[in-house]
Symmetry: C2
Subunit: 217 residues, 2 copies
């Protein structure tokens, strides 16, 4: 198909498709003449993946380029792709190691070893966690750490379900892509569920309705 049809099928404007190609998110179409290239379903699928990662997953274009490059790497070291997909967070690049962050890092290391997780504390996620805990401490909510075990338990459940899904549901061919999808979109799914559950829990605790009559605007 030509670029116009690709655009129509996916709802992505033609100039945007060109932009994605320039940025390395999408392979160029195969040239059939100097100003004609043909695109196939792989382009269509990749385009949908890009939009999902952008719109639902909130990833940045450059991050998507990195992750997709890892996906396309024939070597496909699964845990590296997973890392690339997961390490897209952490707005603050490094973060000076103040007292709170150092203490939080210790807490995180303790949690990891206590749960026997096969994850090194140098993992970027551990860093993000430490920074979040440090921020909580600075706000006088250091005891939020009491919830860590509950959180970790739930996170384990979710992660196991994710990986099991990928393992049994996805052909080896698409496994890497499946991991990316599960990691990024799964996060969006869980986030939304958590917010819904919050509404429910607060309704039960404080008697506030999810949406009182006529409060839908």
């Amino acid at each position: 198909m030509r670029i116009g049809e690709l655009s129509r099928k996916t709802g992505v404007p033609v100039p945007t498709i060109k932009y994605y190609v320039r940025e390395g998110l999408l392979p160029a179409g195969e040239l059939t003449s100097r100003n004609q290239a043909s695109y196939d379903e792989t382009h269509e699928r990749r385009l949908r993946l890009i939009r999902a990662l952008l719109d639902v997953g909130g990833m940045k274009v450059a991050e998507i380029a990195d992750v997709l490059a890892a996906v396309d790497d024939p070597e496909r070291p699964l845990h590296k792709v997973l890392g690339a997909a997961a390490d897209r967070m952490g707005g603050t690049p490094a973060g000076h190691d103040d007292a709170e962050t150092a203490a939080a890092r210790t807490t995180v290391a303790g949690l990891i070893s206590r749960r026997g997780w096969h994850a090194h504390e140098s993992n970027p996620a551990a860093d993000d966690l430490a920074r979040a805990l440090a921020a909580l401490t600075r706000l006088g909510h250091g005891s939020f750490a009491e919830l860590l075990e509950t959180y970790a338990e739930a996170a384990e459940q979710v992660a196991q379900a994710d990986l099991a899904y990928v393992d049994r549901r996805v052909a080896l061919e698409d496994m890497v892509e499946g991991v990316v999808i599960g990691t990024v979109l799964g996060e969006a799914v869980f986030s939304a569920l958590r917010r819904l559950a919050h509404v429910d829990a607060s309704a039960r605790l404080y008697g506030a309705e999810g949406v009182p009559e006529g409060d839908k605007g």
Copy 2:
């Protein structure tokens, strides 16, 4: 204290503090003369909260302004603040209701009623969830919905722990702020934990180490 000291204590540059005041995130200091204002610990705390919401929570300045306005509202309708804190997601404003989204919406409504959640399906979180599921469907992962129950279970655990923490740990005075902190920073915490758990789960499944020797760059 004066603005310079506030800046030193929090690490936020003076012009940035002025910017936050302009944007309504931070109340202005009390004027003691035409070019002097005094700030107190409430400003300091608020400033830390703003930075946490920005850096760790990934919220936008305008969103923070909304949420903090709700926090400062003497009426303090708790569930509304929670909503304001939670509804900060969803990059795509509305989203045309295509076939996939409509189907996903039905799935979400089913889930909510099945779990007996006191949350209306018109909730923005339900919308985000539907959009995430629709994106998964478009990518050929409609069966990801099989994980919804597991996800929901975990989300319930986390939400209950969150609210219980707020309920018993926070004076009524600060409860609203506590909800915001728990909602936003709790999400960052859980997200990081989920990524760590992913690393662990994939290590167990596929034998990839969290960080192989000399792979820490």
